[in-house]
Assembly symmetry: C2
Homo-oligomer: 635 residues x 2
């Protein structure tokens, strides 16, 4: 174990973290009762599930698409997580049925992919850049791991182990093997999961191989495309740089800037973080840290969304953060959570948890409607009224990605170290740790994110000395901490965003943490031209937005006054219960302005009271405009 590995944390599995609160529990319930079944129906109706019957023949309608396996796999993963925390015989039966179908599609040599079995047989592994073949394999692997974790059944796990073994026989440095890797990263992180659950080192090595080979010269994709067209050649030719698009422009350890397709990037960086930890690989960690800084200080929306344009579904250039045309794909914000959660296990630094929290409470859950049945693919930060969630997509990556994250959310709340229990997120519920040979239970009570008061009651059989690390979020400028009603000075105790309390803990000890949560006006880095002289409202981790329904049709006509008070009000009947914010603004409203388009007379303003709601909850009522960044008076 090297130094890097000595610092590492271990996340507490979602199966040991109960969530029982007013914010996440309703979402997880909707996810379980609506979203997961809705997505099964969508997969069924669109032919994605039955495609595993391999009945499709050339000339038939509804040709299976190269992505389909992954949609079903992500649904299986979500359903499995849900089964782990909420047993449900009917869902269990559905899952078994789908797994039987998937297993039946496996070829004698272990290969398992619909498209290259029925649509393009004989063309396996010939279009790694575009055809998502290893990507689909990765999602099947994640599904198999999740299903085993959740149900202890090996039905899917055995199938995907055989598939992984087959892949391992095809790819590698050895003579006769392909030295390729996937144009859409995903299998790399999946293989790490498979290694962790099976203990089979070959899977870890295969993941490392894919990461290490990426971007090496002679370039695999260049050679691959010499005499073969790519599935996406038409699309790819609109890209400025195909190698940057899939982050194969350089070997990963030489990369310093986030480029290209943002979901591909997040999945790759996640695997890099995993491998850095598994191998104690400092060079991978350094690359992750450089990329992390570049992303979080120059290319992230305030909602935790990433990806500034739909053109490449990804990054553009530093400080380019357009609001109406932000791409901010739901999958990319989810990928940001995956990556930050992994970075956080490499080092207990609050900046990772801050980014994870920012995405979770804003740009991730904006992806799904409150009723759990409609989804955003892109999550813009402003809309002129024409952007609405949809029930499904031809390329349906986001909905099941959301479903699997929500169904396993408990896994992001706590970690533990050799002698420390760590609280990253404030979510009411009960968590079980296994430390120094006994079970320790944390009962967390809080109305977070609407309120910053958190209490944690600790239950354990015999008193024990260990540290409890509590995260003080970056948005919080003043916090108060008590243990058993006795105040503890935080100043001086804060290390990288966490305060650590080491003592002998006894049963029924209690921790009270008060995170002061005023309404904040947030400003962007001066280089962000789209937000110059604009302000965003944030309270706690929640980023706010204006919607027409609460304000006026044209939201650009509103300017916040500099001194105008902003007040927060909890409203139970609004959008499932939210804290809304009201305040003084000016509205451009000039009855003297005639038909002319340009004039030397400046349009007049009048006072107006604005109402802001949490960004994640927008587009759940009457359609209209939305904006996060609001003009502010310049003085």
């Amino acid at each position: 174990m090297n130094l890097l590995q000595q610092k590492m944390l271990k996340p507490v599995s979602f199966t040991n973290v109960g969530i029982d609160d007013a914010f996440w529990s309703p979402r997880i319930k909707v996810n379980r009762e609506q979203t997961i079944l809705h997505q099964y129906q969508q997969c069924k109706e669109t032919g994605r599930i039955d495609a595993f019957k391999l009945n499709w023949k050339p000339g038939m309608d509804n040709e299976p698409h190269i992505f389909w396996d992954s949609d079903v796999a992500k649904w299986l993963e979500a359903a499995s997580y849900s089964l782990a925390t909420h047993p449900d015989p009917e869902l269990d039966r559905l899952v078994d049925e789908v797994i039987t179908l998937i297993a039946s599609a496996q070829q004698p040599d272990g290969y398992l992919n619909i498209y290259f079995t029925v649509v393009k047989p004989g063309e396996r592994w010939t279009d790694l850049r575009d055809a998502h073949e290893l990507y689909c394999a990765g999602h099947l692997i994640e599904a198999g791991v999740a299903h085993y974790e959740a149900t202890k059944k090996r039905t899917l796990l055995d199938v995907i182990c055989r598939y992984a073994d087959h892949i391992d026989s095809v790819f590698g440095l050895e003579e006769g093997k392909k030295r390729g890797y996937c144009g859409h990263q995903e299998i790399e992180l999946a293989l790490v999961k498979l290694y962790r659950i099976t203990g089979e080192k070959r899977y870890l090595k295969l993941s490392q191989f894919f990461i290490d080979e990426r971007g090496q010269e002679p370039h695999y994709f260049t050679q691959e495309k010499v005499d073969r067209k790519g599935f996406f050649d038409e699309f790819m030719k609109y890209l400025d740089n195909i190698k940057e698009y899939n982050q194969s422009h350089k070997p990963v350890r030489e990369q310093s800037k986030v480029v290209g397709h943002s979901v591909r990037a997040m999945y790759m960086y996640s695997a890099m973080a995993d491998l850095a930890g598994e191998f104690g690989d400092e060079s991978l960690l350094k690359a992750c840290e450089r990329l992390w800084n570049h992303l979080h200080t120059k290319n992230m929306f305030i909602t935790g969304g990433i990806g500034s344009t739909g053109k490449n579904e990804g990054f553009t250039y530093d400080y380019d953060l357009p609001n109406e045309t932000s791409y901010a794909e739901t999958c990319a914000a989810i990928g940001l959570v995956y990556w930050n959660q992994r970075m956080l296990q490499l080092e207990c630094d609050g900046k990772y948890a801050d980014a994870m929290e920012r995405a979770l409470y804003n740009g991730v859950i904006s992806g799904v409607s409150l009723d759990g049945k409609k989804f955003f693919y892109a999550n813009p930060l402003a809309s002129i009224g024409n952007r609405h969630r949809r029930e499904w997509f031809g390329c349906a990556c986001c909905p099941p990605n959301l479903a699997r994250l929500l169904a396993s959310l408990g896994g992001y709340v706590y970690s533990q170290m050799t002698d420390d229990l760590v609280v990253h997120l404030y979510v009411q519920g009960e968590a079980k740790f296994d430390l120094h040979g006994q079970q320790i239970i944390f009962k967390q009570k809080t109305e977070y994110p609407w309120n910053g008061s958190i209490s944690i009651k600790i239950n354990l059989d015999k008193p024990d000395i260990f540290g409890v690390k509590l995260r003080i979020p970056d948005w919080c400028k003043r916090a108060k901490l008590k243990v058993n009603n006795e105040e503890i000075e935080i100043n001086g105790k804060l290390e990288k965003g966490y305060v650590r309390i080491e003592r002998e803990w006894k049963n029924d000890d209690s921790i009270e943490l008060e995170l002061y949560m005023p309404i904040e006006r947030m400003y962007s880095h001066p280089n962000v031209r789209q937000n110059a002289n604009h302000v965003a409202i944030q309270r706690g981790p929640i980023v706010y937005c204006l919607e027409s329904i609460d304000n006026v049709d044209f939201l650009h006509k509103l300017s916040l006054t500099k001194e105008g008070n902003l007040t927060s009000i909890y409203e139970e009947s609004l959008l499932g219960g939210v804290v809304k914010i009201v305040g003084e603004a000016k509205l451009t409203d000039d009855p003297n302005w005639k038909e002319q388009l340009y004039s030397t007379d400046k349009p007049m303003n009048k006072p107006f009271q604005i109402t802001a709601i949490p960004y994640y909850a927008w587009d759940n009522r009457e359609p209209g405009q939305m904006r996060v960044w609001i003009q502010e008076e310049v003085k």
Copy 2:
């Protein structure tokens, strides 16, 4: 002659208007000495001219493109205008050479189109929607008319008359003729010109036929595309509405809103205005007026540019006027001039001249570099530093369009009516009118647009009673008028933007007009979200912009102070001699702002003196950012 026709004006031909000033003359000289020859070379080098030899065979490189005829035709038109005002034997020889080549390409039946002769023989008139066949014919016709006007040679005129006769035999209401029209309007206005110079009514009727048929049901393009692919099918499928794209979504008399491709729209509206006048057609005039209002009050950039997106090279929705992504194609601003000049001949209303002037001094001439050799296709109102003029384009419509407008600019300055001589634009030089049987000469002296003092000396043999109408531009809020040094009260005399002085004019009478020209802060209609709380600087007809080279790298960091003085300074050595504007602003420049992307601390400002230059002159020095609309303090 109906009422409509009684109100009409007649433009004074550019051949009777000498331009001899400090603003336009250097441009026209560069156009003559650089641009026109540069464009000949480009046409030659790219194979556009030699393509008329019809030597191309399938399988050969450099396949002639469907647009090519029109590029050469517009060059011929420009060269012809130039020959009319500046005889040049070498250019005359080049023109003759090209005309000989074009004539040699004419088929025995009069047909004349490179693409459908050598690339797709046998497919004539089968893809009217996309293939630009009648569009190319229209430009050849305009060239033939111009060449005849300029040189009195019939070489090209005879060729294009035969071609027009052939087209007339193919299209029409009569049994056996096609009831189609072009997907890119152009031939309609060309045929009116041909009618006017030949007196052949058939050409006028054919133009009327094309206009009247457009958008009728059953829809020609729908029928045409039933069993034939269009040249641009791939592109067209990205359009929301192909019929709106080419303005065939409704019969033209039922159209009220500007939609689709902006150049197509301008050329069509120009023909509609022409036909309204020729036929005294009130219903066409009403349609023009509705469309004019919609365009000029909701969809025009302050530079006179039009077209809000490159997606359809055209219109989007009302008040959508994005600055960085404005399309504002050079050809569309030129088309706006063509249309407004025609509307102005239907009614002497200053609003048409105002729009024409706005485009001419801003969004049209921004299309060409000061050296005459580089061109903008799109003319954005803001740039982050990545937009630059280019020497040529694959689709090279804009450069020769600019050249032909500049070479015939004199034709936009004056009109005459039965008893009135009308001054629309203030341009130094000498103009000849023919009124009441004698020649009258106006000698206009002015430093316009840098200075609003204008003097006109009138020369005529015998005293005569007539009216002189002088335009008082919309940008001018205070004007002073003297005749022979005697002040004339303008108030009460102003009708639709013109002041009329009727008297008995004697030789050497003089008119002095003083148009006060302060620096103005211009505001957009409150519905234009992109310009909320932004201001543009305008002085006289000139719209200003900031460039990085005179200010700072990131122009969004500048805000104009509300009270800050703005001062105008003529600088002879700057950009060919311009009035620049300097003034007080604030610059966001916060040394305390660290690496973080978002903060609760508002970035600080410091005072900064900005320098603005005329918009048309941007991108003629070191590359950098540019913006027209500048943030203004909100108070």
